[in-house]
């Protein structure tokens, strides 16, 4: 988490970042809240509702799929150029990593 990004692993560049595999940090999970009919992130001492883009990404995080495969799947689901989706997904994953939801 405190790693200084190197040129090779710049968080927003495609290349390596798309090959990266992210997973939920231990003690953090995405869960469907049946009673309120919404997805929630369960984390230490807090539960919060991710926005729709974050939810779509997190539902595809399984600890095995590389980020690029998540982008491909979302590009198939949403009507937008892959490059645009890739940009949003990489930015969102960087944000979720900084917020201690995901880890590389």
């Amino acid at each position: 988490m405190t790693d200084v990004p190197t040129a090779a692993a710049a968080p927003t560049g495609p290349g390596l970042a798309e090959a990266a595999v992210v997973r939920f940090m231990r003690g953090v999970r995405l869960q469907h809240d049946r009673v309120r009919d919404q997805w929630v992130i369960q984390a230490p001492e807090r539960a919060f509702v991710p926005d729709p883009i974050a939810t779509a990404i997190l539902r595809l995080v399984d600890g095995q799929r590389p980020v690029g495969a998540i982008i491909d799947l979302l590009a198939g689901q949403f009507d937008a150029p892959r490059a645009v989706i890739a940009h949003d997904v990489l930015a969102m994953i960087a944000d979720l990593t900084a917020r201690q939801v995901l880890i590389r």
Partner: protein, 367 residues
């Protein structure tokens, strides 16, 4: 009033038994004895009801919840119902052998309390020799397991100057979160207020230490900071609103909107042995008493902050003004705010001795 939204979190106080005796304990002065405690089957039924209603997180607390041998069973049951499980512990009963079954049961997170960063004063506050070494050891094997760990430090005049080192300890132990929480003055904390309340200068120094650490450490360590609101102009919000998000069940099965609510006079305390959690949540007079904003007096009633702080703390209004339905006197708009100012001005130069949290040790006849 419309049906309230279901609670988000359940504080399950499994027992009031505890090897420590911290003088700021948030437990009531009248502690429940072991013979009054809910059974395993009763807690299992509560967890089922909570999950059914929409509770997301359950915090196993006490007293010391590790004093209950059925804790792994309760954690396992909660986890199977999709509840996020948190253990709030002093760590003195946590060993590798007692931790393993909890991890295997699906425990999600541990919140471990420290009385101080230095052993001498820590054990003077907790009243137990050897406690500090046990806590440090517990922190190490929780982190080694990979389970997220939060360290909790309660701040008072005796340890406020050591906040920088508390933060450093959290970082070196590998905690994911740390709570720097000034004492809240209810229950035993209220009894010991003159011994615990920091000065304004101590408070400012602690706040500065937290801000410096946040700037330095960024997102690698989450720092939760709770101030003593006696020095504030506006009160703390009450748990996201009375009976809105949070429900507390005492060891003996009383269902409460907060851990301090047992001080409220003239209302009966709902009992989980005689009613369902959903029925209590929606209909019990205790829960309806201060839910929403209809109960509010002026100046809260016409105030723009009424849905942000919910008029502050009911238990504090009761303790300081004698009326749980009054505006929290911490608020500078309260007609009784001068009482808070007077309390701070009259703090003794030398702190009085602690009244330790023990069965039978409360002034005025608490058990």
């Amino acid at each position: 009033m419309n049906a309230p939204p279901p609670p988000m979190s359940l504080l399950a106080e499994l027992t009031h038994r505890c090897p420590l005796q911290c003088p700021y304990c948030s437990n009531p002065l009248a502690l429940d004895g072991r013979e009054a405690e809910l059974s395993t089957a009763e807690w299992i039924g509560i967890l089922d009801q909570a999950a059914e209603m929409g509770v997301l997180q359950v915090h196993f607390s006490g007293g010391e919840p590790m004093a209950r041998p059925d804790l792994p069973e309760l954690v396992r049951h909660a986890a199977a119902r999709g509840l996020y499980t948190n253990l709030i512990t002093s760590g003195v009963l946590l060993t590798e052998a007692t931790f393993r079954p909890l991890a295997e049961a699906g425990l999600d997170h541990v919140q471990l309390s420290f009385q101080d960063v230095d052993t001498g004063p820590a054990e003077q506050v907790g009243g137990m020799k050897g406690a500090q070494a046990k806590k440090l050891e517990a922190a190490r094997f929780v982190v080694a397991d990979g389970m997220p760990l939060t360290l909790n430090f309660v701040i008072h005049r005796g340890n406020a100057g050591r906040v920088p080192r508390m933060l450093e300890l959290a970082r070196t132990l590998g905690a994911r979160r740390v709570e720097i929480a000034h004492t809240q003055y209810y229950g035993w904390g209220l009894v010991n207020r003159a011994a615990l309340m920091p000065s304004r200068a101590q408070l400012d120094e602690a706040t500065q230490a937290v801000e410096d650490a946040r700037a330095r450490l960024g997102s690698s360590l989450t720092i939760d900071y709770v101030t003593p609101d006696y020095y504030a102009d506006r009160p703390k919000p009450c748990m996201g609103g009375w009976g809105q998000r949070f429900v507390n069940i005492s060891p003996a099965g009383r269902v409460l909107p907060c851990h301090a609510a047992e001080t409220i006079p003239g209302v009966s305390f709902p009992d989980i042995r005689t009613a369902t959690l959903a029925d209590i949540w929606e209909n019990a007079p205790l829960f309806r008493l201060f839910r929403g904003t209809d109960w509010m007096p002026e100046p809260c009633r016409g105030c723009d902050f009424r849905e942000q702080d919910w008029g502050g703390c009911r238990c504090q209004a009761l303790a300081l003004v004698g009326d749980a339905g009054a505006t929290d006197p911490i608020c500078s708009r309260s007609p009784h705010h001068d009482r808070v100012t007077a309390i701070l001005e009259e703090l003794p130069a030398e702190p009085p001795p602690f009244v330790y949290r023990r069965f039978g040790n409360a002034p005025g006849g608490g058990r």
